[in-house]
């Protein structure tokens, strides 16, 4: 299938959090539109490659996002501006980079391993200061620091890009900062991957 067509079919659905949740409960399998996908493409999309993270790994990841950018002092929290769906988009569009996904998996597991070692609990069960301790601890490792930096960058994108891309819900990020976007703003036909 032409990559552009595939994206257009997905772009309406893959950034709605509810859809993502239902995908995760089925093991995180990305389901191509069955009407236009042929048998070969369907079997490709069900392959190993398209399963990103387990449910537990996603829970850890979103807890990290929420810790890095909490709903606090008037600032919106990561879950309020679709940061999870944005990260999913980043890892799968235009195609899945399996090396990058593998790094994410091992970093997430590292976080939970350290939480278990230090506090005998999973990361999602820790309180704020314990979570802080774990993340600052892994930050001492350069690759982990880069990984956390990438998650942060991604959160900032979800916070402040144009809502047409599915995050920054109702411009919550722009409003928090009193930021004026430029005009004209893109409509759904003008997303960057439709330009060429």
């Amino acid at each position: 299938m032409n990559r552009r067509k595939f994206l257009i079919q997905c772009s309406g659905t893959f950034l709605k959090a509810s859809t993502i949740n239902s995908l995760f409960f089925s093991g995180g399998i990305l389901i191509a539109n069955p009407i236009s996908a042929n048998k070969k493409q369907l079997s490709e999309s069900f392959s190993e490659q398209t399963i990103l993270f387990s449910r537990a790994q996603w829970q850890t990841l979103t807890a990290i996002q929420e810790h890095l950018f909490p709903a606090k002092n008037g600032a919106p929290g990561a879950s309020q501006f679709n940061a999870k769906a944005w990260l999913y988009n980043f890892l799968t569009f235009p195609e899945i980079n399996s090396e990058v996904v593998q790094i994410y998996r091992s970093q997430i597991d590292k976080v939970n391993l350290l939480a278990k070692q230090q506090f005998k609990q999973k990361f999602i069960q820790l309180d704020e200061s314990q979570k802080e301790q774990i993340l600052r601890s892994i930050e001492k490792n350069r690759q982990s620091q880069r990984w956390l930096g990438e998650i942060l960058n991604n959160i900032i994108e979800a916070l402040l890009t144009d809502p047409v891309y599915g995050a920054n819900n109702d411009a919550i990020g722009w409003k928090w900062l009193g930021h004026s976007p430029g005009f004209p703003r893109p409509n759904t036909q003008q997303k960057y991957f439709l330009l060429k």
Binding site: G149, L152, G182
Partner: protein, 560 residues
């Protein structure tokens, strides 16, 4: 012999537009081959994802990589491809090229720029030369650009004002932000001359284009109103209206074929189905921006040019230029001023700051050293892109910043004051270690060797860049700005590039003659910034436009 066209132009940006426009208007049949898509006003939105975060206007670096070589501290060269570092020199592959996305900060070169080695003497370890033409020969074309592309501004008296045939600009300055008058005041207090910065932006509707709408998102973005003087809006649309011009987007020229007489016989290009096509013309004009122009020539060996077209003297790709200089910034914190002034400063940065200082175009400061070429200081708004601005707060002195601390920093940045940026331009000294060649291993998706750009620089670039940036910082401090910083910048800015096929009278050390015709290839002209042997200490686009109009006249004389 009959040809498909009179002139085939490869590229459609600032170097190509004037040639296309002039020849089409004079009745010649012009074909334009542009690698990228044809985006128009209706396609240009202020979308940070498109312009900047996801590179909507530049090619995929997986399909079209670059390789960069940077000098190591300990000597030797570190080679990085775009697989490693994503550092690339793509600026805009669309009809109209990167001129769609420029800020349009327009400055002319000055007479001294044409005579750098005569004026200052040689620089050790550098290849400075005089230009084979004088400022006076280019001046009528700078004037033409003001009228045809549309340059708005106001002429003021200052020590380095260059001679002008027109008393003032054809369009009055674009609307100015209140910060501009505080810069004027600070300059007056210090005793330097504040210049309203000329812009390639219409301040009123004209020539079938609308005026600026002051959205505040100019540089890096395409213009939805047509006010910005891109090659496309200002020139190509008019060329199309003559009926003598055909523009083929998605047409990537892969080779210039040449015959045993050393003339180009035909151009080979691929379309977006990867099908090859051939076309021929009486005259060929290459204007792909400096790096890709040199690369195309190197990728086009022929029976009389085994080392690449027009490259028998091994000059193609050599003496590549970027812009030297420095940068800086300061912040006007609202709480530091009375409420009326704070309100003025807080005004949305839609109207421009548009101020420049050229008092140090030549630096003659006994404390600093012997007289050397200086340059231009521009004061501009900090670019408003929100993701870029907020992302910079992620890194602190002790590592990553996150949580409540990050949120406070971001909020303070956005809400506590306005930033003013200093952009200082000084000469990029031409050196042997700054050049374009073909990478021996890496190929693009069509199997062609990609450009390898070695970015060696001369320490001179840093000296004047540092000086100018620090002078800019003094002005900001005089205004009451806080957190003022300034620094020299050695790394090449990816969006200011020229040279590689310099013009000159001596075929042994230049690629083009003074008319920008290749010494070795009679039917080849190069009209983008490749022709420049030295850069001057201003952004290049006005000079590229002006020279391209000049070359257009030479081509018409050639065609007869």
């Amino acid at each position: 012999m009959s040809h498909d066209f009179d002139v085939c132009v490869i590229g459609s940006g600032a170097g190509a537009g004037p040639v296309i426009y002039t020849l089409a208007q004079q009745g010649y049949k012009v074909l334009v081959l542009e690698k990228g898509p044809w985006l128009k006003e209706k396609d240009f939105t202020k979308d940070e994802m498109a312009c900047c975060l996801r590179n909507g206007y530049t090619p995929s670096i997986k399909d079209q990589p670059h390789v960069v070589e940077q000098e190591k501290d300990e000597g030797g060269w570190r080679k990085m491809s775009t697989d490693d570092s994503s550092w690339n020199f793509w600026n805009g592959n669309v009809v109209g090229g990167s001129s769609n996305f420029m800020s349009g900060f327009f400055h002319r070169l000055k007479p001294v720029d044409f005579r750098q080695i005569s004026t200052f003497g040689p620089i050790e370890g550098a290849n400075v030369v005089d230009w084979p033409i004088s400022y006076d020969e280019l001046e009528p074309y700078y004037d033409k650009v003001e009228k045809v592309v549309g340059v708005s501004g106001k002429v003021v008296t200052h020590p380095f004002q260059e001679p002008r045939s027109s008393k003032d600009f054809p369009y009055p300055p674009t609307a100015e932000h209140p910060i501009a008058k505080y810069i004027d005041q600070a300059c007056q207090e210090i005793g330097v001359h504040s210049i309203p910065m000329p812009r390639a932006i219409l301040s009123k509707p004209d020539m079938n284009r609308s005026s600026c709408s002051y959205s505040g998102y100019c540089g890096s973005y395409g213009c939805a109103t047509g006010a910005k003087g891109s090659s496309r809006a200002a020139l190509l649309d008019h060329a199309m209206a003559t009926g003598n011009c055909e523009i083929r987007p998605h047409s990537h020229v892969t080779k210039l074929h040449s015959d045993r007489d050393g003339k180009i016989s035909q151009v080979e290009y691929v379309d977006n189905q990867d099908m090859s096509h051939y076309v021929d013309a009486k005259i060929y004009v290459v204007a792909c921006q400096a790096i890709e122009t040199s690369r195309l020539l190197l990728n086009s060996p022929g029976p009389k040019h085994p080392k690449g077209l027009a490259n028998n003297q091994s000059q193609v790709g050599k003496n590549l230029l970027f812009a030297g200089g420095g940068a800086g910034s300061g912040r006007l914190r609202y709480a530091a001023f009375n409420s009326e002034k704070a309100h003025e400063i807080a005004q949305h940065p839609g109207a421009f700051i548009n101020r420049s200082v050229q008092d140090w175009y030549v630096i003659d400061d006994k404390e600093f050293g012997p007289k050397i070429k200086g340059g231009t200081i521009d004061f501009v708004h900090l670019h408003p892109n929100p993701v870029a601005r907020a992302s910079r707060k992620i890194w602190g002195n002790k590592g990553l910043v996150w949580g409540g601390e990050l949120q406070s920093k971001i909020k303070a940045h956005f809400q506590d004051g306005r930033y003013i940026k200093i952009e200082a331009f000084s000469d990029w000294t031409p050196v042997d270690d700054c050049f374009v060649s073909l990478d021996p291993e890496m190929k693009d998706k069509w199997g062609k060797p990609v450009a390898k750009i070695r970015v060696g620089f001369h320490v001179n670039n840093l000296k004047s860049g540092w000086y100018l940036a620090s002078k800019g910082a003094d002005i900001l401090r005089q205004m009451g700005a806080e957190d003022v910083v300034s620094f020299a910048a050695g790394d090449p800015p990816t969006n200011l590039v020229a040279g590689g096929c310099r013009f000159g009278d001596n075929p042994k050390n230049s690629v083009l003659n003074k008319n920008c015709q290749a010494h070795e290839v009679e039917n080849l002209y190069i009209s983008d910034g490749s022709f420049m042997p030295t850069g001057g200490s201003v952004p290049y686009t006005w000079t590229i436009y002006a020279n391209s109009f000049r070359v257009a006249d030479k081509i018409i004389a050639h065609l007869g």
